[in-house]
């Protein structure tokens, strides 16, 4: 149903809808869209396996993680993201030296996380768990997760050339931690777990400072207030 002359007093063709003729930038209009959200995959768990902290360490760190995941796959549906690790750091340093902007670096980083996704996919292939190419992953995820106990994706989100310019420096702000989290949020997964090589959050980097204190639980607000110099995930 379209609205126009008389409804064409503003000379635009509209379709009748709640948002017709409204500016989507109007704060009151935005507030009116606060509505409950449908959960697509509430029984799934999203994991992210660290690139540098787990996969780059080779067999010693990766095999036990793969075994633990294999055990979970017997009873749970897992959506597994991977980070890019040392190769992404390396390509960032070369790219920055060549004068490439953040969006170009974000495009390059996809390849490393995808490589790691295929490594984990190889090790989990006996369980029917494989790496899915990013182009079809989002749209087909509900089908894949119904057919297999788990799926693997590149944790780096598809921001590529459209990556946001960061406040400091040039590293793409949406890495594999953010990408895996955003996916878990959109699909309404039960929980989101980062698999790293430290027990979790510390007051300082525990690898460099033995006096760093472990933090078992903290709110996002408190975390921001304490303004730690480093975090075990990207902010």
């Amino acid at each position: 149903m379209t609205t126009q002359p008389e409804g064409r007093e503003d000379r635009r063709y509209h379709i009748d809808s709640m948002l017709m003729r409204e500016s989507l930038l109007d704060k009151d209009v935005q507030r009116s869209t606060e509505v409950p959200v449908f959960r697509m995959l509430p029984e799934t768990h999203v994991l992210k396996i660290g690139g540098r902290s787990i996969i780059d360490e080779g067999r010693e760190a990766t095999y036990p993680v793969v075994e633990a995941i294999a055990q979970c796959l017997e009873t749970k549906k897992l959506i597994i993201g991977t980070g890019g690790g040392a190769r992404s750091r390396h390509v960032f340093s070369i790219g920055i030296d060549l004068g490439l902007p953040t969006g170009a670096l974000a495009e390059l980083a996809q390849a490393d996380a995808l490589g790691n996704a295929h490594m984990i996919g190889t090790l989990l292939s006996p369980y029917g768990v494989v790496a899915i190419p990013p182009a079809i992953f989002g749209h087909l995820l509900p089908l894949f997760i119904r057919s297999a106990p788990g799926v693997i994706f590149t944790g780096v989100p598809p921001y590529s050339l459209w990556e946001h310019p960061p406040a400091i420096g040039r590293i793409p702000p949406h890495g594999s931690d953010a990408g895996s989290f955003l996916l878990a949020e959109c699909f309404g997964s039960k929980d989101f777990t980062l698999i790293k090589d430290v027990d979790g959050l510390y007051t300082r980097d525990p690898k460099q400072d033995a006096s760093a204190a472990f933090i078992p639980e903290i709110s996002v607000n408190d975390l921001r207030k304490r303004d730690f110099e480093t975090l075990p995930f990207t902010a």
Binding site: R11, R12, Y13, I15, D16, S17, M18, L19, M20, R21, S23, L24, L25, D26, K27, V29, Q30, R31, S32, T33, E34, V35, P36, V37, F38, M40, R89, F92, S93, I96, D97, L98, G99, L100, P101, T102, G103, G138, P157, P158, Y159, L161, W162, E163, H164, P165, I168, G169, R170, I171, G175, L182, L183, E185, C186, F187, D205, E229, L231, T234
Partner: protein, 271 residues
């Protein structure tokens, strides 16, 4: 052991933490290279422009054609009325922000295809994000390309602070193209002279703003603004594209003047 394959920055990055502010500062010391410094990015509004049909679109197409060979143009499109319809049905169904952004992408793609059909006889291609590596060739050969303005975040879209509508839509997507390529200009083609203190379609007392900084604009705390707010935030972190222009494309000649670098209508800049 000194690894000579790694520069000093390489060592910082491979060994340091990417959440360490000191490491991050090291990565911003060299200015980035402008990749396409002669290109201009245009964004043609959906609701404000294409939804007006032939009366608005044909004269603009003529003006784009007149500028072929004079200026390189990367042309993005907005969504408009059908995106609003899809968002309102989607909201009613309870769909999450990421899915709404997929729906918005489809509409801005329709608008891009429509402009593409009108420009096809001039050899102007429509490209999807996956074809952006070919963009420099098309630009060198034909002087223009069309793309859909939505950034390809799809299911990975961040939730907005208020409500459920994807905050990064076609203004943001087009702006980020101008920033990443270090383009010469970012021109938003709308149906208003630029920025007003309120929506001039609803408030006759709305005052026109000719030029304003992002900081001054956020201090005004307007209920409504002419471009998506994330564009303003991103401009402050930008390395290349620190100003944008908003023009009324319904007025013949405005686009050409803006492409020629004239001070036409509203300029918004980061300090």
């Amino acid at each position: 052991m000194q690894n000579e394959l790694l520069s000093e920055l390489g060592q910082y990055l491979v060994e340091g933490s990417l959440t360490d502010v000191n490491v991050l500062q090291q990565t911003g010391q060299e200015p980035p290279l402008p990749i396409l410094p002669d290109a201009n990015v245009l964004k043609v509004g959906g609701q404000s422009f294409i939804d007006r049909g032939r009366a608005a679109v044909f004269p603009l197409i003529d003006e784009i054609v007149e500028n072929l060979g004079r200026h390189d143009m990367i042309i993005g499109t907005g969504g408009g009325s059908r995106a609003r319809h899809a968002y309102s049905v989607g909201l009613d169904l309870g769909l999450p922000t990421g899915v709404l952004s997929v729906l918005g992408t489809f509409v801005s793609m329709q608008n891009a295809r429509m402009l593409h059909f009108l420009l096809a006889k001039h050899g102007i291609p429509f490209i999807e994000p996956i074809q952006f590596p070919q963009l420099p060739l098309y630009l060198a050969e034909r002087g223009a390309v069309i793309f859909f303005g939505m950034p390809p975040y799809t299911f990975w879209h961040e939730n907005p602070d208020i409500g459920r509508i994807p905050p990064h839509r076609t203004d943001t997507g087009a702006y980020l193209v101008s920033e990443v390529y270090g383009a010469r200009s970012m021109i938003f083609v709308k149906d208003e002279e630029g920025l007003y203190t309120a929506d001039p379609k609803k408030d006759r007392g709305a005052k026109f703003i000719k030029e304003i900084s992002v900081a001054e604009l956020s201090a005004l705390d307007l209920r409504d603004v002419v471009v998506e707010r994330p564009v303003l935030d991103m401009m402050q972190n930008a390395e290349h594209r620190r100003s944008i222009r908003v023009i009324n494309g319904l007025v013949k000649g405005n686009l050409t003047r803006a492409l020629d670098g004239e001070d036409v209508e509203t300029l918004i800049y980061a300090d």
